[in-house]
């Protein structure tokens, strides 16, 4: 009897953990596309879906959390998401400028230079959103070995229109966005290693076996992303992505644009990842038919060649996938003038010769025959002051203020310890077909205390790029078939006026001497009595 009750008790103990064991799906995919300037864009995406799971309700943060058991979902990331009750998380670490005009839109839209982190969190009385945001930054910077801890209140904003929730909106509490970017962050091997550790097969099997840091970080453009999205009907989806733009013309001696997996990554896939429910390599075929692709047994769908690598498929793992142009002796770069691939091209610069002020100028070109309306977002650190009254919108040197609408400007707001959050400018631009719209405004550069300058003060400060985002079709009745996500402009580098860093003592001494000299002279005079004395000779 007693033994039976012990068994029942043990069975009771085990029940909840079994009930929590959810179905997890892991899929991986590699997309390879030859670009028109001879480069090759590769996009890895590793998706883990935690079916039926939902984000943690932040109101329950004070209580004990349910235990976490994952088979494929990375526990380290899961713990962070539960600890800070994150509904949606996006982290990207990129290096280089994405060349929209020649490469088109990237498969993963978040290509802003440096680090970018944004998270949607439910509001709660237990811990504030800002406290959890600070914890999240520090936890992620520990997990990915990146300086995300410096994404503090001086860089944090809440641009909800440009960065909406990608998944479903939970009903348990109103949600808030925190967004921060650090354009000067460098991406390197120390970030890739923890990234690979989050994958169920690490880099031992499956597509991730191709990720050779020496090759990936030699690419002209490279970046990685972590996206956690909750969708009501599926569950929590974790997408780890890695994009790289290789340049075979540069690396091959014969100046040819031929590529194969071995030459791109210097690695090959020995075995498929056994837990992956799907694993595929998709080659996007160029429109011109003068290329050859080997092995010649892929499934062709709409100009795509798909190689299935999953262990359940009947295919054997192709040892190497290659694309080559047999009739081409050496690659001829397309000659200018090139028409940009994307309907929208953006240039953003800061003019001005002095270190104290300049003119921020953004020119947006609509290459398509239709009118395009886009959202424009500037998130400027408080060391740059944008003079909004000097804002000008021009087409061919004619002022066209009517093309800028729904202007929203948030000046920098004071934070704790005399810091200011960035200023935010958001507007809707309407660009007529085949024209260039120019926005310009005067900016001032701040004079900082000598302790606020970075150690390499003369290098200057990186400013985050502007973001152009599509307007939701509902609010703006635009009959445009142009489907795209955000466009990031390259970052800017501004040189701020610097004080002399060796002078603190000298300045204190010299200024105080002058003050005491004048103070002393005046009080010397004021405390004297004037009398006339006779001097007998």
């Amino acid at each position: 009897m007693r033994r039976a009750s012990v068994w029942i008790f043990l069975a009771y103990l085990c029940t909840p953990s079994f009930a929590l064991y959810r179905k997890e799906i892991y899929k991986e995919d590699l997309r390879i596309q030859s670009l028109r300037d001879g480069r090759v864009s590769t996009t890895f995406s590793f998706v883990t879906v935690l079916e039926g799971a939902g984000p943690r309700n932040p109101k329950a943060l004070g209580q004990r959390d349910e235990s976490q058991h994952y088979a494929l979902f990375p526990l380290t990331l899961g713990q962070i998401l539960r600890e800070y009750a994150i509904t949606e998380l996006h982290l990207t670490l990129n290096a280089g400028k994405w060349n929209y005009d020649n490469w088109g839109h990237p498969h993963e839209a978040e290509v802003g230079t440096g680090a970018e982190l944004w998270a949607w969190m439910g509001a709660s009385e237990v811990t504030t959103v800002d406290e959890r945001w600070s914890g999240l930054r520090n936890a992620l910077s520990g997990l990915f070995c990146a300086s995300l801890g410096s994404l503090d209140s001086r860089r944090t904003l809440s641009p909800t229109v440009a960065f909406p929730l990608s998944g479903s909106t939970p009903t348990f509490s109103p949600h808030e966005l925190r967004h921060a970017s650090l354009p000067s962050e460098n991406v390197c091997t120390e970030n890739l290693t923890p990234f690979l550790k989050l994958l169920p097969c690490k880099s031992h099997a499956g597509l991730a076996a191709l990720l050779n840091p020496q090759k990936v970080f030699d690419a002209d453009w490279h970046g990685m992303g972590v996206h956690v999205i909750w969708k009501e009907d599926t569950g929590i989806e974790l997408k780890l992505s890695l994009q790289a733009v290789f340049n075979p013309v540069r690396t091959s001696a014969g100046k040819r644009r031929d590529w194969n997996l071995q030459s791109l990554f210097d690695r090959s896939i020995e075995r498929s990842c056994p837990v992956a429910s799907s694993s595929s390599i998709t080659v996007i075929l160029p429109e011109e038919k003068d290329h050859k692709i080997t092995p010649e047994n892929p499934a062709y769908v709409d100009g795509l060649a798909i190689y299935d690598l999953s262990s359940s498929s009947n295919f054997t793992i192709p040892s190497n996938i290659a694309m080559y142009w047999p009739s081409e002796h050496s690659f001829q770069y397309p000659l200018p003038p090139l028409t940009p691939i994307t309907p929208l091209s953006v240039k953003r610069t800061i003019h001005g010769t002095t270190q104290t002020r300049g003119v921020l100028s953004v020119s947006v070109t609509n290459n398509s025959p239709q009118e395009i309306s886009v959202g424009y977002l500037e998130m400027m650190p408080a060391l740059i002051t944008m003079w909004m009254h000097t804002l000008k919108v021009e087409i061919n040197s004619q002022i066209r203020s009517d093309l800028l609408s729904e202007l929203k400007y948030h000046p920098p707001s004071p934070q704790s310890n005399d810091r200011f959050s960035p200023s935010m400018l958001q507007a809707v631009l309407t660009i007529p077909p085949k024209t260039t719209l120019k926005i310009s405004m005067e900016v001032n550069k701040a004079f900082l205390k000598y302790t606020e300058h970075p150690p390499d003060a003369m290098r200057g400060w990186d400013l985050p790029g502007a973001v152009f985002f599509p307007l939701s079709q509902l609010s703006h009745n635009i009959s445009s078939s142009y489907d795209w996500e955000r466009i990031y402009t390259p970052t800017l580098l501004v040189d701020l006026p610097t004080p002399d860093f060796s002078m603190p003592y000298n300045v204190i001494i010299l200024s105080c001497t002058l003050m005491t000299l004048i103070f002393g002279s005046i009080f010397n005079l004021l405390t004297r009595k004037w009398v006339v004395m006779e001097i007998q000779e």
């Binding site: 200024s511 002058l514 004048i518």
Partner: protein, 426 residues
């Protein structure tokens, strides 16, 4: 009203300058010598834009002007250059009337046109005052209000004087230095007693009542500012707080900016306190020593402000320099006017040069400009110390006068002896 010929001519010229399009005006507006973050026209316009767009101008940390200026320029008149020209004209006129009051002349007589011409020209042609005014810096209004307060005080118009100084203190809180001498002028007289010092001659019991009246005006202005900003107090921190905490370290000809750029973080609050208290510490000693001539005490305190103020611009020493013209009696007793002039010349030439070299050309560094600002500090200090000296030295008079006095007084007893004067410590 009998105005001197130079006044009408120069005011016309000044109005013409305001109306004509000047080629370098945009450069002037951005010049750090002529306008500080607290007085810059660019920031005023930005504040007006923010107000138009229903954004609180004081949250952004870039706008430090008083809400009163904001409301005047957003509702009554747009910030046109002509207003700065009129303000200059009013300032010159106020300076003239102060001089009249000091000489005990009624304005209608206008007996000494040469001096009047000189005073007008010294005010309207002073480059330290003209250039900031062309740069549309709001320091022009502060100077005019200070002069108006002194003028009304000299004429004995109590309420107007207190209202004017309340406005001046509201626009720039460091003008509070001038409150005590203005109260003293109101209860005594502005007439020159430098040559014949005497204990304070006036009804001291009135001072608390006058101070109460000033406080009332000041509170009304604060209340008005709060109503304008919609009940928010953020403007106090942004406008008055800026002179105490120095959030913006834009270079200027003063001593504060580089000191606090280079200051160690843990000493900042201490030295901010020291620099603020240092300004206030001059009030009582100067007012006690010059109790026989409070207008001269006010002049010396304007000199203190023109040397040690936070966010100093050239307009501050400019007011001190122009005011020297209404004290002709001390000119003969200045010890080193040439050195002071040369120091000012040195600073005025070096400041823009070193600023361009550092900020635009990138050839020099911040120390060059700092050195020039130290020379500016020396020039301001030299003028102040010399004015202080001359104001006391005049009481002793010339040695010759003393000889004659002795001769008269002692019936030729000491005749033939050479009598020298000498200063001895108390």
């Amino acid at each position: 009203m009998n105005t001197p010929p130079a006044f009408s001519f120069l005011v016309c010229l000044r109005l013409l300058l305001a109306v004509l399009p000047l080629p370098g005006q945009n450069l002037l507006k951005h010049d750090h010598q002529l306008s500080s973050p607290l007085t810059s026209n660019l920031r005023l316009k930005e504040g007006l834009w923010l107000l138009d767009n229903n954004i609180d101008p004081y949250t952004g940390g870039s706008f430090h002007h008083s809400p009163l200026l904001l409301s005047v320029f957003s509702t009554i008149v747009p910030p046109l250059p002509i207003i700065w020209a009129i303000s200059d004209a009013v300032g010159a006129w106020a300076l003239l009337r102060i001089w009249h009051a000091r000489q005990g002349l009624s304005f209608q007589k206008g007996t000494r046109p040469n001096v009047e011409n000189l005073i007008t020209s010294v005010y309207l042609l002073n480059p330290y005052l003209l250039l900031p005014s062309l740069a549309l810096s709001t320091s022009t209004f502060e100077n005019t209000l200070t002069l108006l307060a002194l003028m009304f005080a000299s004429q004995g118009k109590v309420s107007s004087a207190l209202l004017a100084i309340a406005f001046a203190v509201h626009l720039t809180s460091s003008s509070i230095l001038l409150l005590l001498p203005i109260l003293m002028i109101l209860v005594s007289s502005p007439v020159s007693h430098l040559a014949s010092p005497r204990p304070f001659h006036g009804n001291l019991k009135r001072i608390p009542f006058l101070f109460g009246e000033f406080t009332l005006y000041w509170l009304v202005l604060v209340g008005a500012a709060c109503i304008i900003t919609g009940g928010s107090w953020s403007w106090v921190r942004a406008s008055w707080g800026a002179t105490l905490t120095l959030p913006d370290l834009t270079p200027n000809p003063g001593l504060w900016w580089y000191f606090f750029t280079e200051m160690f973080d843990h000493f900042r609050p201490f030295f901010l306190m020291v620099f603020s208290v240092h300004l206030v510490i001059y009030i009582l000693p100067i007012c006690i020593k010059f109790q026989h001539d409070p207008l001269y005490a006010a002049f010396l305190l304007i000199g203190v402000l023109g040397t040690f103020k936070a966010y100093l611009t050239l307009a501050d020493p400019g007011l001190f320099i122009s005011m020297i013209s209404i004290f002709p009696e001390v000119h003969g007793y200045l010890r080193h006017p040439i050195i002071t002039t040369l120091l000012h010349l040195h600073a005025a030439l070096l400041l823009p040069l070193q600023h361009v070299l550092w900020v635009s050309e990138g050839r020099g560094n911040a120390n060059f400009y700092y050195a020039a600002s130290l020379v500016m500090g020396m020039a301001g200090g030299a003028g102040l110390v010399d004015a202080c000296w001359a104001g006391m030295r005049i009481a002793v008079g010339d040695a010759k006068e003393w000889v004659e006095e002795k001769v008269d007084g002692e019936k030729g007893k000491d005749e033939g002896k050479v009598v020298w004067w000498e200063v001895v410590q108390q």
